[in-house]
């Protein structure tokens, strides 16, 4: 059996199949359909300083090979995350990466400080600077190189755990933002968050999403995710966690070839909460059939024609 382990910063994950923030709750739901101990890691739903009720419905709608969501960072807030979730994580042997969102530098820092102040086994932070659905989604950071670098630098000072900046595809130059993250001291970047999208009901003439604009995810955006990862791969030396439209093992291979060192599965969990286990099995078979010893050997090895 091929070696599926991957390294990010100083952490070694047993396999590269993570579940994406906002698509697997706090990792405490739905244990019946998926053996979460098999996951490489769980990235938990974005946590903000205060609890958030989220956006009014309708919050989601299907599109061609994709879906739009505008959940609006509904979450329990950091206090409750600390009191209710961290103890559960102590009992789990699946690595937890905590995703943080904020509307100001201080908010991100305050959340992280609170978590750093208590003892827990979470392995790192993914910083959401790319949520397109709320004013407080950090997009003002995610589109600006200077602010990204500054935020990364400040957060770097607060933790020795993994620091991963989650990038938005809704920018002119994602490689620039990635470079700023690297310069600020991030251990890794993850790409991509959702693509800004809109959907309208042609019969009722209503927007299908309460907030009018939402985030597009699913197979439709896989080409966008791959392009972003490969652009970032050409620009930085830190590991990249590939996200966007991954539904099977072939998609995982493609993300590795483009430059990812691990991946996150998002929308596909909604169709089948156990899909990551299927992907993992198929990935093992693929590597064995091809005689590939270690999945890490694939990172960035796409063969280009030029």
């Amino acid at each position: 059996m091929a070696d599926l382990s991957v390294k990010i910063g100083d952490m070694i994950f047993k396999n590269p199949i993570f579940v994406a923030s906002g698509t697997f709750g706090y990792g405490t739901e739905n244990p019946e359909l998926v053996d979460i101990s098999k996951l490489g890691a769980i990235v938990t739903k974005s946590i903000t300083l205060n609890p958030r009720e989220g956006n009014p419905p309708p919050r989601i709608v299907e599109t061609s090979s994709g879906m739009i969501n505008s959940i609006g960072l509904a979450n329990i807030g950091v206090e409750k995350y600390i009191s209710d979730m961290l103890p559960i994580y102590e009992e789990m042997d699946t690595p937890i990466i905590m995703n943080i969102a904020g509307s100001s530098m201080t908010e991100y820092m305050d959340v992280m400080k609170k978590v750093e102040a208590v003892s827990s086994n979470i392995v790192g932070y993914e910083i959401n600077i790319s949520c397109p659905n709320v004013k407080e989604g950090g997009m003002e950071f995610g589109v600006d190189c200077e602010m990204t670098e500054k935020l990364t630098r400040e957060l770097r000072k607060l933790t020795d755990r993994l620091l991963i900046m989650k990038l938005s595809p809704n920018v002119t130059d994602i490689a620039g933002i990635a470079t700023s993250s690297e310069n600020g001291g991030a251990d890794a970047v993850s790409a991509i968050n959702t693509v800004v999208g809109m959907s309208i009901n042609h019969t009722s003439h209503f927007s299908d999403i309460h907030t009018t604009f939402g985030g597009l995810s699913g197979p439709a955006i896989k080409p966008v995710g791959l392009a972003c990862v490969h652009k970032v791969y050409r620009a930085v030396n830190i590991p990249i966690i590939g996200i966007g439209g991954i539904v099977n093992s072939a998609d995982v291979i493609e993300y590795f070839l483009a430059g990812s060192c691990s991946v996150q599965v998002g929308t596909a969990n909604f169709r089948n909460p156990g899909i990551t286990e299927i992907i993992l099995n198929d990935l093992n078979n693929y590597l064995d059939e091809k005689g590939i010893d270690s999945i890490s050997s694939l990172i960035g090895s796409v063969m280009t024609h030029d």
């Binding site: 009720e53 989220g54 419905p57 919050r59 979450n75």
Partner: protein, 259 residues
């Protein structure tokens, strides 16, 4: 909760645009706890439609799970083209159930509007002496008989069969007492009207609501409905909104807010 590839045992049009499908789903049938629950269906394995479609369970008999669906868009159209013997993938059973309809002191009034009739027929099957009202747009969409003597009232918007008008019209023809308890499923305007009616008459009601579901299992946070007075449910991340797929689809009348 299981994901099963199930074999279709029958699939037939029972009224204009309304279909009934039976599938052999032993695990889901065994885990089923009662009327109100639903399954989440994937008619095929292509990804043009990434999201499953929720359908109420209309009955469970042995291993056989039955749904009643209306052709609405692409996925229900695809469902209707499936033959018996073919397989589809379903996830379930999901959601909570209607309660108290089997209590002695309850006089149930079952009300189904449109495809909301599926869970209502499910209650009806096990219910003693219920009154049932089924609403549709026109006669062709009904597959039962208007039979007031046996307490089955059908309504049609166009008056082509049974009582002309909506379910509210039918309820006026019924004796309502303090033991009356409405169990309803149907379009939002109907549920909204029934909510007002029940509160006005001071009778109890349980309403099965619909919402756009991304997963059906509590992962996406897409399916929310606004609560009426901020009750906290154990599965919710928040107080203002409830997750229809976990906390619902059945709510006590005054628990939720419409429109």
């Amino acid at each position: 909760m299981y994901i099963e590839n199930v074999t279709i045992s029958s699939n037939e049009e029972i009224a204009m645009g309304i279909w009934r499908m039976s599938m052999n789903a032993p695990k889901i049938a065994a885990a089923y706890i009662g009327p109100g629950q639903f399954i989440n269906i994937l008619p095929n394995d292509n990804w043009e439609h990434p999201i499953r479609r929720p359908m109420s369970i209309a009955s469970v008999n042995g291993n056989i799970v039955e749904i009643i669906y209306k052709i609405f868009g692409d996925m229900t159209h695809q469902l209707s083209r499936k033959n018996s013997g073919e397989t589809i993938n379903i996830l379930g059973p999901l959601g909570n159930v209607f309660t108290e309809w089997d209590k002695k002191e309850v006089d149930p009034i079952l009300i189904g509007g449109g495809v909301g009739l599926a869970p209502i027929l499910n209650v009806y099957e096990s219910c003693k002496n219920p009154i049932m009202i089924i609403g549709a747009k026109t006669a062709a969409e009904h597959f039962m008989e208007h039979d007031p003597k046996n307490n089955i009232y059908l309504t049609t918007d166009d008056g082509s069969m049974g009582i002309a008008g909506n379910a509210l019209k039918a309820i006026d023809e019924i004796d309502v007492n303090e033991n009356s308890f409405i169990f309803a499923c149907g379009p939002e305007p109907m549920l909204h009207a029934l909510q007002k009616y029940a509160i006005g008459k001071n009778i109890r009601a349980q309403l099965s609501v619909e919402s756009y579901m991304g997963c059906g299992v509590g992962l996406c946070q897409g399916c929310v409905i606004e609560r009426q007075n901020g009750q906290v449910q154990k599965h919710s991340y928040h107080e203002k909104y409830s997750l229809v797929c976990l906390d619902g689809p059945v709510y006590e009348c005054s628990e939720v807010t419409f429109g």
